[in-house]
């Protein structure tokens, strides 16, 4: 019973934070709410037995993502223009939700141990991690050994993101139209 209460509290908090993040106009509050959203999502991941994912989501979503958004807010205006509810996007959202709800009826029930995904490669990884690799944390053994190529690609993606940000914001400025100057300038940011 207490498990159900914790689940219900986390889920309602998550939905409430998401709805508030859409409605507010002050961007500082919106960014802080997105950090809170990531943290509550991390708690929900722990409830769903995904401890590595919860760790990463808390560190990355509630930590780094919020810091980068706040750093952006120090450079751009902090208030959103007031909007009324847009009808066509709202209708599109409801229509998509209806289609997804119909499609969801074919998916396996929550927590079903006989779902197809649990009978394919997952038992091999669970036994192989004990015998062939000898590491208790199955997620690490799958990440680094069984699916090592994907992790190599992911590391290269992070590397590419750093290169892209350094190219866009690293120091060379394009002509700034706000001041009306059109000369090319070099600046040293670092």
């Amino acid at each position: 019973m207490s498990g159900f209460l914790v689940d219900a509290a986390l889920i309602s908090l998550l939905t409430l934070i998401a709805i508030l993040a859409v409605r507010l106009h002050r961007l500082f509050a919106v960014v802080m709410l997105s950090g809170a959203f990531s943290l509550v999502a991390a708690a929900l991941f722990v409830v769903l037995d995904a401890v590595d994912v919860a760790f990463t989501e808390a560190a990355v979503g509630a930590g780094i993502s919020t810091i980068l958004a706040l750093a952006t807010l120090s450079l751009v205006p902090r208030d959103e223009k007031p909007h009324s509810i847009a009808l066509v996007p709202a209708f599109l959202a409801f229509a998509t939700a209806a289609m997804l709800a119909v499609a969801v009826s074919d998916l396996p029930a929550f927590g079903d141990a006989n779902a197809p995904i649990h009978n394919h490669v997952a038992p091999e990884y669970l036994t192989g991690s004990a015998e062939d690799i000898g590491i208790p944390n199955v997620v690490t053994s799958v990440l680094a050994s069984y699916r090592g190529f994907d992790t190599l690609g992911e590391t290269v993606v992070v590397f590419t993101a750093a290169i892209a940000v350094l190219l866009v914001l690293g120091g060379y400025t394009r002509p700034r139209r706000r001041n009306g100057d059109r000369d090319k300038e070099d600046g040293n940011a670092r």
């Binding site: 998401a18 993040a21 990531s38 914001l169």
Partner: protein, 126 residues
């Protein structure tokens, strides 16, 4: 009704996904769109992780205790990768927002379109 009880995690995912989707397409402010995209991404993570959970199972860390069921580790690995890739693209998105603000002076979509169209008209006349 039993179908609803057995599949409530998917309805939570759909709700969050549509909130994020609405934010991306209905709001003009670029920072708000990025936050909506983050909500959308997290709802997709929730979908995969909830599909990997097994009732009466535990986290996929092998212990000596007699444990019958461990949660499926494969979605966890995929979502770990997805979270890191998500923050990488979010960082590039914020960098581009800063760059757009420095070049055009606004981060609202409609004002941006007006400025670009005005410049195109000037260019066509000149």
């Amino acid at each position: 009704m039993s179908m609803l009880a057995g599949q409530w995690n998917y309805f939570l995912v759909i709700a969050l996904m549509m909130i994020g989707f609405y934010t991306v397409i209905a709001r003009g402010n670029m920072v708000k769109k990025m936050v909506g995209l983050t909500i959308f991404q997290t709802s997709v993570f929730m979908l995969y992780i909830s599909m990997g959970k097994i009732a009466n199972g535990t986290a996929p860390i092998l212990t000596d205790a007699a444990q019958k069921a461990y949660a499926n580790p494969l979605p966890h690995v995929l979502i770990l990768t997805a979270i890191v890739v998500g923050v990488a693209t979010t960082a590039v998105g914020y960098a581009l927002i800063i760059s757009v603000y420095e070049s055009y002076g606004t981060i609202e979509d409609d004002e941006l379109i007006k400025i670009i169209e005005a410049e195109e008209d000037e260019g066509a006349d000149a």
